[in-house]
Amino acid sequence: MKGGWVSMLKIQKCVGFFAIFFLMIILPFPTGAQVKDDAVRIGLHGPFTGPVAYSGELMKKGFLLAVEEINTAGGIKIAGRMLKIKPFAEDDRGAPAEGVAVTEKLITRDQVHAMVGPFNSSVGLAVAELTDRYKVVRVVPIAVADAITTGHPWVFRNCPNQTMQTVQNAEYVMKQGKWKKFALLLENTDYGRGGGETWSKVVKGKGAEVLAMEYFNLGDTDFSTQLTKIKAKDPDGIFLVGLITEGAQILRQARQLGMKQQFFGLGGFASDKFIQLAGPAAEGLINNSYWEPNPKIPKSIAFKENFEKFSKMEAEMFSAATYDAVYILKEAFEKAGALGTDAESKEALRKAMHKVDYVGVQGRTTFDSEGQATLHVYIVQVKDGKRQIIGP
């Protein structure tokens, strides 16, 4: 039985693979002819799969909402022509190597005129180099590592960077005067390590003690080891740098271990999804947020409504920042008055970015000489399952 039956299958397999082989040769691969500049091609990449897929999805939806709004209103006016935006979105899985690969794809295959993203600092650092090398303007809406914009003339950021928001957080904490001894639990990435170093420097400078610094890896689910060590040191407060999946687990496991310390965090936790994941363990957490619906900024309220209708998801800072990023690019293209993948057009766009003065859902955005926007963060606390603005 085996002999005859398998041979038939062998033949079929053989034919199948030959077919694929010929398909490879016959099927036209994009020949690389210059794609016409009849639309503004903007590429987004973010972590659409993986532990922060939810936040990545928020980014994508914020991006697409902005694109839809702009296209419905006619498009971007460049040198007298109204051009629509053609969006491209790729998944970088939150991994730096993948970020490099998709950036390469977006620039060489899809020939985008500008880029938005990424989310993770580690990806941002990896792609900054490539962005400069290919000379494509990039607006980073979320990743905070300082070095992403510093020294990279083609990379701009429309959110506060790591130093800005960490210092703000640490100063707020020390100003309250309630906590003196801290333990730090940090993501084993630049986001975590960088944030931890800055924060501990500031609090130590104001007289506090740092009793422990523990680390965890992205994707970890068991933090009992690190938490047990921290528990043994008995700190007043714990500074946590991570993203929503790990952060939620950490808070829950800490409470399960009977730990009652005050937790502090950065922007990564400003998300309703996070509160949902962490449940009652999130109560009392003090952290940063780049964006909250703020009655003083009417566009932010309108955005919240439109976004929720468009995406069926809660409007959060990840969507708000990415949304603003697209509008910022729109203003830049209009000011530049040129569109193209040639050196001149690209340089015109880059120069125009420095002239941008845009008021959006995050407030007023302008860029300094390094491409960093000067924005402030809110300090929020989770009370009764909702984020309340308690500072600056």
């Binding site: 068991d222 047990t228 060590k229 009977g258 009652p280």
Partner: protein, 292 residues
């Protein structure tokens, strides 16, 4: 200090129980059928997801979910036997490794598509109740893990030693040719073995699910650790798998707690390499294939 050690060790025992459950199925497949199942971790992973779905379907009945998950994955184990292993029986380890490896990749990526990559939580409420004594904390869920693990292990042991099927399994492990001559239906034995392996792995997944998160790739590390346990305890050695499982859990926890938490996963591998260096056939080796 002692409290810290005790806490870490207790955490380790809980994990160890889970490792033991997964490893038991693997070691049975090794011992009885001389085959390697690299897709075993996926049984664990699907067990966890199945429990999640049954849990939500039944409106929060954990027991119901646990039992049904075990049954469902037992059938998955059956499919494993029919599709991946029966065609390759008797051909040594290599082809079975590759075929189950391929199945593993297929399954966890399928899970990625079907369930999504965002990790899921299973809130049984038992994780929220913490028992503390002498400075050591244990959630009810973790206590449950220990109890159910021990229960299943004892149940398995009794089944292997006292029932006819168990006897037949032991006979096949000793010498499959003679067993066949004696009229034992090897196909049936293979099926039962895989079903048991599946059920046990599913139980492990069901127990762990509420403690940590459920995500498609969770089977990979679990499978690796299970292999380490099996090799340490001896291929086919049931008590060995149990002891090695608990031991590994504790070693890992203490090592991560007092040496380095970043290298937590490495401890299992280091132990493996050290043991194999000293005894390339594993602690007990092939000469003593002991079932029961």
């Amino acid at each position: 200090m002692i409290t810290e050690v005790a806490q870490q060790a207790l955490n380790g025992l809980v994990m160890g129980g889970v490792y033991a459950l997964i490893a038991l199925g693997l070691t049975l497949i090794f011992g009885i059928l001389d085959q390697v199942n690299f897709a075993h971790g996926e049984l664990y992973m699907i067990g966890a997801y199945a429990t999640l779905y049954f849990f939500e379907f039944s409106g929060g009945n954990y027991t119901f979910a646990l039992i049904f998950a075990m049954v469902a994955v037992a059938f998955l184990g059956l499919f494993y036997e029919w599709l991946l292993f029966r065609p390759l029986r008797g051909m040594g380890h290599f082809p079975a490794i590759i075929s189950s490896l391929g199945a593993s990749i297929f399954l966890w990526n399928l899970a990625l598509l079907v369930f999504g990559s965002t990790p899921r939580q299973m809130r049984t409420g038992l994780s929220e109740i913490t028992l503390s004594f002498l400075g050591i904390s244990l959630t009810v869920q973790r206590l449950l893990v220990l109890l159910i693990t021990l229960g299943l292990i004892i149940g398995l042991y009794l089944m292997i030693m006292k029932t006819r099927m168990g006897k037949a399994m032991r006979a096949t492990a000793q010498d499959p040719e003679v067993a066949a001559l004696l009229g034992i239906n090897i196909n049936r034995i293979a099926e039962v073995t895989f079903m048991i392996g599946g059920a046990l792995a599913a139980a492990a997944g069901a127990l762990i699910g509420p403690i940590f998160l459920i995500y498609p790739a969770m089977g990979l590390t679990a499978c690796l650790k299970a292999f380490v346990v099996v090799i340490l305890g001896g291929l086919g050695n049931v008590p060995g798998a149990v002891i090695a499982g608990f031991a590994l859990g504790v070693i890992e926890s203490l090592g991560a707690g007092f040496i380095s938490s970043a290298y937590k996963d490495v401890f299992a591998f280091l132990v493996l390499i050290l043991v194999l260096w000293a005894r390339p056939e594993g602690i007990l080796g092939k000469t003593a294939k002991k079932i029961g």
